[in-house]
Amino acid sequence: MKLNRRHFISASAGITAAMSAPVVFGASRPKVVVIGGGAGGATAARYIAKDSKGAIDVTLVEPTRSYYTCFFSNLYLGGFRDFDSIGHTYGKLANDYEINVVHDWAVDVDSNNRNVSLAGGGSLSYDKLILSPGIDFVDGSVPGWDLSSQNKMPHSYKAGSQTQLLSAQIDNMKSGGTYCMVAPPNPFRCPPGPYERVSMVAHKLKKSNPSAKILILDPKPKFSKQGLFEEGWNKHYSGMIERIGPDMGGKSVEVKPDSMEVVIDGSSEKVDVCNVIPAMKAGKIAEIAGVTDGNWAPVIPHSMQSRKNDHIHVLGDASSQGDMPKSGFSANSQAKVCAMAVRAALTDSKLFPAKFSNTCWSLVDTNDGIKVGASYEATDEKIAKVSGFVSKTGEDAALRKATYEESLGWYSGITSDMFG
């Protein structure tokens, strides 16, 4: 077996590694800067720091001190999780993995000089830059809505205060009122996400406000796990949920945040809560860094390296890579391939073939869990699906319960894989 430089480096990074660094790596350790401490970024930072055992200097830039996961934020809306249980901090990444965690916004990337500017005035130089900034919304995709309306009509598609706001609005809805969701067009983060949210809102309303209605305005003719969701809605929430697809006007929707109206194909309707999930694009910093092509940032599947810049990698929702859905699981999976490739480029650790996988669980009602998943490989053209599976309609209650319990195991697994 080939000897590997990293075997010579002390496992307890810090001082030992810093002392041995000049001998092994020349003047200074290679620098990796990661922008975004979410599913993609936190995982990439942790794996590079963990596996390079101090040989690479890793900085993670993330404005928030507590990252609230979008995954399971719907379960919070349904009353299955408390808010604190979906919040995570960066203490372990900083202390146990010696990652420099910088709580700030990256505002500019000078890719010629390989330098990132921060909102607080600082700057960071890099050998490799990893961008995992998640999503931003496409201006004007829902006429009448922009970011200044997000307190009246929340998107709750970045978790945190938006999620709490939506939850409070649902709690305060008048008896028999209407919760309306303006669903996003493809591609968007978490394909089953809006429909799991509808299930969780229905679960809550069934108990607290049983005569309330749910209205989905959907620009897409079909959606992820549709048969499974509709089976569950008929079973658990019969008569409560109405979905208007593109053929009936779901594609030409305008909103009026001040009067809490939605205009569907010209006819106006009053609603009580309006959850607008606009069209999405890569987080703005990807565009600023010059790695986007249209709304998303194209990448080379074998390494998640940008097709536009050799020293930048893009992970997760912001990337356009092929067949993988935009999910936390996918971002986490891509981060490990990226971490392996970045280490191989900066040290002489081995380069292995890229393997990706994804599974997305959704909760329809208490102990009624469903899932969809697939494995993927890197081809020169795209990340391509190898094989997959999906839950079936008519499964027995025990299997659905086991599926839900698995999702709890996964949540603990992925969050410890991200944050240590």
Partner: protein, 230 residues
């Protein structure tokens, strides 16, 4: 060494007679037992078609000679008890489940034990009941050819491959809804992955994951997960 085990076995038998004994438990307590058995399920199967996993199947455990399931690789500690024809009875199992590695030193059962006495009672009643209803129904693990079991894996490659698993199976070995896969005997691990790969064990995720793993990749994962210490 031998003397020690004989002494130990005597102490073990003595301790059984000193035990106050378990009272008869009600049906609801048995129902509770099935739930608690989840703690064992990571490693043991019971009931019709039960196979050896990390641990031996537990069918007909009531009165079964310790360490006697064929084709299961027991620790020497259990094999020495087998030689003395010691059988599993409720009070002895109660002690084993309370503190496995204290009660039978050198056992491979990598399980921290159940401190709650009632929980132990429930679980034992459950096992006993299922055990009686499954006389003769256990089957042997589909055995793999020795050349697959003895492939030498590459630990570094295993470490990289393991990153795919860590999204669900925690590197710390914690089980919060998805079984722990750290510190397994290498061969049991290989057998478990091939069971999914061959479709002998059904689970959509694990079948998908293993379908594209080569025999060498499975061997590499087995050594890596065996080597994590937690």
């Amino acid at each position: 060494m031998r003397l020690f085990t004989v002494l130990f076995a005597l102490m073990l038998v003595a301790s059984i007679f000193l035990n106050v004994g378990l009272h008869n438990v009600s049906a609801t307590e048995i129902v509770g037992g099935e739930k608690i058995f989840k703690k064992c399920k990571t490693c043991h199967q019971i009931g019709a078609g039960a196979k050896n996993r990390v641990g031996p199947h537990l069918n007909e455990i009531g009165g079964r000679v310790v360490g006697s399931v064929e084709n299961f690789k027991y620790s020497n500690s259990l094999l020495e008890l087998k030689e003395q024809a010691i059988r599993w009875e409720k009070p002895m199992l109660d002690k084993y489940l309370k503190e496995p590695r204290k009660f039978i030193q050198g056992t491979n059962m990598n399980f921290s034990g159940i401190t709650d006495e009632l929980e132990r009672k429930k679980i034992i009643e459950f096992i006993w009941q299922v055990s009686e209803s499954t006389q003769g129904s256990s089957v042997q693990e589909n055995s793999l050819p020795e050349e697959i079991l003895s492939i030498a894996g590459d630990r570094d490659y295993g470490e990289y491959l393991s990153s795919e698993c860590a999204t669900c199976h925690q590197a710390s070995g914690k089980d919060e809804g998805i079984p722990s896969i750290t510190n397994w005997p290498v061969k049991s691990f290989i057998i478990a992955l091939h069971a999914y790969k061959n479709g002998n064990r059904k689970h959509p995720i694990m079948e998908m994951i293993t379908k594209r793993l080569s025999n060498e990749e499975i061997a590499s994962l087995a050594i890596f997960f065996n080597s994590i210490n937690n």
